[in-house]
Amino acid sequence: MKFKINRDHFSNGLAQVLNVVGSKATMPILSNVLIEAEKDGITLTTTNLDLGIRVKVKAEVKETGAVTLPVKRLAGIVRELPQIDVSFDSAPNHQVKLNSGGSVFRIMGIGKEEFPPLPDFSDDKIFSLEQAELISMLRSVAYAQSSDETRYILNGVYFNFRDGKLSLVATDGRRLALIAKELEVPAEKAGSIILPAKTVSELLRMLDKGEKLKISFNDRRAAFQINADNPDTGLVDSIYLYSKVVEGNYPNYQQVIPKETHQRIKLERELFNECVHRAALVCSDKSNSVKLKVSNNLLEISASSPDFGEAHESMAIAYSGPDLQVAFNPQFLVDPLRALTKDEIYFELKDEVSPGVIKTLENFVCVVMPVRIN
C-alpha cells in the first residue's frame, strides 16, 4: 500500500477517530487505527467495540491496501511532520514508512485481518436530520444525563421517534430535560433508542461539519452518517459513526412532567443565570442549594453555607401570585440556562416540594426537583 497525503488532512482525519480509543484497550488491536487505501482516498477506522468511527480523507493512492497502526502515537507523529507532503508506504510485513521532508519514520503495524469489522449502515429505520439542529437539541438536554453507573439506563440520551416528532430526553433522576421537533415519522419507522453518553459526546464533537446527517437504528445499535465533505479539512463523503445502544426500558418521562401550570414567571435568561451562579459561589458540598423566594414583583435568590457565609441576589420580575419559597441545586438551574439561547424563558413553580419547570416557547422543558430543607 502506497499513498501521498496532505499532512493537515491526515491529521484532521486522525483527530476525528482518536477519541474512541481508550487508554486501556482490552485488546492491542483496539489501540490501532485501520488505514485502508482505495482509489482516490483513504479511510481511517477506530473502534472500542461499543463505539466505532470511520472517516474518509483525500489522498493520492498509488497502490491500494490496508494496515493498522497505534493511533495515538501516529496522530502525534503526523501532527509534527515538517513538510505538508507526506508519503505513506506499507510493506507486506506491516511495517510502515512515513516520509516528510527530511523526516523518516518506520512504524510497526498489525495486519488488517485482526481488526474487528464495523457493522454497516443498516436500513432498519432511517431518518434524515439537519446537523445544526441535532447539535442544538443534544446540547439542550445532554447535561441532564446521569453519570451514576448504578443507573446505567440513564447514562445516555433517549431518542424517541414517534407521533410526528423526534423527542430527545435526558435525566439523572433529579432533573429531566426534554426537547422535541416536528418530524415525519411513518408508523412502521417509529421507535426509540438510548444513545450512550460517550457516543453523545462524540456526536457533539463531530457534528457541524456539513448540512445533513442520517441516523439508522434498531434495538441494539445505531449508526450515523454525517455529511463531512470539505476541501479545507480534506475530509470527503461522510463520517460514519456506529454505536451500541443502552439496552433497557427508559423510564416513563411523560409522567414526571407536570401537566398543570401553577405559578409562571417570565425571566431574562442571562440575568437569572448570573444571579443563580453568583449566589451559588458560597455553596459547599455540604450545603449545595440556592433558595428562591418569589413575592410581589420580586425574585430573591439566596444561598449560605454555615462555615463560609451567605449571598443574596434580587431580581425584579412581573409577578402577582402568592408568595413562594423553594430551594434547588444551583447546577440544575444553571445547566439548562446556559444551554439555551433564547433571551426569555419561563419558570413554573408550585411549592417547596413540587418540581420547578423551565420552559421556552419552543418545545423545551426542563423539570427540576427541589432540595427540601427540613
Binding site: 451514576d148 448504578t150 435525566t171 433522576g173 433529579r174 432533573r175 429531566l176 423510564p251 414526571v256 455540604k286 450545603s287 449545595n288 442549594s289 454555615p306 430551594a327 441545586n329 416540594v353 418540581p355 423539570v367 426537583m369 427541589p370 432540595v371 427540601r372 430543607i373 427540613n374
Partner: protein, 396 residues
C-alpha cells in the same frame, strides 16, 4: 488595668467517676472506678483508687488485682454526655467563648468580658468552680493564664480541685521548675530519652545552645523553645456543636467467631445509632465497621452510599460485605464497632421518579413512630427481626 490573664482551662476531676458519685454520694472517699466488668477496661478511677495503682486505661482484671477492694461502677449510657453539656452550659454563663476539647475538658476566653482586673476575673472563675460543684456535684480543676498552653499546664498541676493562676509575665518562671514531660507533645518515652540527655526540667531547655536543641528536637525545636517560655498564640475556638461522626462499639464477654452473630450485633448498632442521627436531624453517608481480634490487633473497612441517608435500611446490605472485608483473619473477635461519618445537613434533593421516594417516605414515617415508641416506653423496645437471636428454644 483590665484583666491580662484571661484564658481559663477547665478540667473535670475523674469525670466519669464524679458523674456516678454525684448520684451515689455514699461512695465518696472510696476506691471506685468506672469500667467494663470481665473483659473491659477502666475508663475513670477515683483519686483513692489511683493511690492504689489503678490508672486509665487499664484492663479491669488487672485493676482488681492491684486493688482487690475496688468498687466497680458500670457505665451509665448517656449520663456523662448530659452532665458534660450542663457543665459547659454553666461555663457559658461566664463567656460565650467556650472551646470543648472533650467531654470533660475545655478552654474559656474571658478576654472580651470586661473584667476590670485580674482579681475580679479570678473571683468569677472561682465562682464557676463552686457552682459546678454545688449544682452538678462535679469537682473541677482550673488553670488561669495568659494563653492556652500555660492555663492547661496550670489546671493539671494541683488536681483534684486545683486552682492555679499564673500572673502575666511570670510564665517562664512558672514553667521553669516543672518536669519536661509537662510540655505538650512530650510523652513518657520522649521524657525518659530527654532525661538521659540532661533535659529533666523545662528550664533546662533555655540553658542549651540552639545547635544542641536542633539536634535533640529536630525540625520542631523552635516551637519547643517557645513552649518552654510559655508562649502560645492559639485562639480559643468556639466549636460547632455538630457531631462529625456517630459510633458505637461492643466488647464481648467471650470472643465471638460466628459471622452471623457478629452481623446481628453490628446491625443492632445501626439500629441504635440511626435514631440518634434522626434526632439530630442529620444524615450519614459512610459506614465503617471495625473488628478487634483477641490479641487487640484490629482492622476496619468502610463504604459510602451514593447519597446520605437517615434510614437503617440502606446500610444493612453493607454490613456483611464490610465485615468480610475487615475480618480477614480466621480468629475470633473481642470487639466490633460501627461508625457513621460523612454527616450531612438534612437538606434533601428530591427525586423525580417517585417510586423509591414513596418507599423512603413510608420508612421514614415508620422510623419516626418507632423512635417515639422506643423513647417513651421504658424497657419495651420495638426491634427489627434480625435482632431476634435464634436461641435453643427459638426465642430470645
Amino acid at each position: 488595668m483590665p484583666a491580662t490573664t484571661t484564658i481559663v482551662h477547665l478540667d473535670a476531676d475523674a469525670f466519669f467517676v464524679s458523674c456516678e458519685l454525684a448520684s451515689k454520694p455514699e461512695l465518696r472517699g472510696t476506691k471506685c472506678a468506672v469500667g467494663g466488668r470481665e473483659r473491659g477496661i477502666i475508663s475513670s478511677a477515683s483519686y483513692e483508687a489511683r493511690a492504689c495503682g489503678v490508672y486509665t486505661p487499664m484492663p479491669t482484671t488487672r485493676a482488681l488485682r492491684v486493688c482487690p477492694d475496688l468498687i466497680l461502677l458500670p457505665h451509665t449510657t448517656g449520663l456523662y454526655g448530659i452532665i458534660s453539656r450542663k457543665m459547659f452550659a454553666l461555663c457559658e454563663t461566664l463567656t460565650p467563648l467556650v472551646q470543648r476539647n472533650s467531654i470533660d475538658e475545655g478552654y474559656l476566653d474571658l478576654g472580651p468580658c470586661g473584667y476590670s482586673d485580674d482579681v475580679q476575673l479570678e473571683v468569677a472563675v472561682r465562682g464557676l468552680q463552686r457552682r459546678i460543684w454545688d449544682e452538678l456535684g462535679i469537682p473541677v480543676s482550673m488553670g488561669i493564664a495568659r494563653n492556652k498552653l500555660v492555663s492547661q499546664i496550670a489546671s493539671k498541676l494541683r488536681k483534684p480541685r486545683g486552682f492555679v493562676v499564673v500572673p502575666s509575665g511570670t510564665e517562664t518562671a512558672f514553667l521553669a521548675p516543672l518536669d519536661i514531660g509537662k510540655l505538650p507533645g512530650i510523652g513518657a518515652k520522649t521524657e525518659a530519652a530527654l532525661k538521659e540527655r540532661g533535659l529533666a526540667f523545662i528550664s533546662d531547655i533555655a540553658k542549651r545552645p540552639e545547635d544542641d536543641l536542633a539536634s535533640i528536637f529536630g525540625r520542631d525545636w523552635r516551637s519547643v523553645v517557645s513552649s518552654a517560655r510559655g508562649e502560645d498564640d492559639r485562639p480559643v475556638e468556639v466549636d460547632h456543636d455538630d457531631a462529625k461522626s456517630y459510633s458505637q462499639q461492643e466488647t464481648f464477654a467471650a470472643d465471638i467467631a460466628d459471622p452471623a452473630e457478629i452481623e446481628r450485633i453490628a446491625k443492632g448498632m445501626i439500629d441504635e445509632l440511626m435514631p440518634q442521627i434522626r434526632t439530630d436531624g442529620k444524615r450519614a453517608r459512610t459506614m465503617t465497621v471495625k473488628v478487634r481480634y483477641g490479641d487487640f490487633s484490629q482492622e476496619s473497612a468502610g463504604r459510602s452510599l451514593a447519597e446520605a441517608s437517615d434510614l437503617e435500611m440502606p446500610f444493612y446490605p453493607l454490613v456483611a460485605p464490610l465485615l468480610r472485608k475487615a475480618w480477614t483473619r480466621r480468629s475470633a473477635l473481642r470487639l466490633v464497632s460501627v461508625r457513621f461519618s460523612g454527616i450531612e445537613e438534612p437538606a434533601r434533593q428530591l427525586d423525580l421518579f417517585s417510586i423509591e421516594n414513596e418507599a423512603d417516605t413510608k420508612r421514614r414515617k415508620l422510623a419516626s413512630v418507632l423512635d417515639l415508641l422506643n423513647r417513651t416506653a421504658s424497657g419495651a423496645k420495638v426491634k427489627y427481626g434480625h435482632q431476634i437471636r435464634r436461641g435453643t428454644d427459638g426465642h430470645e
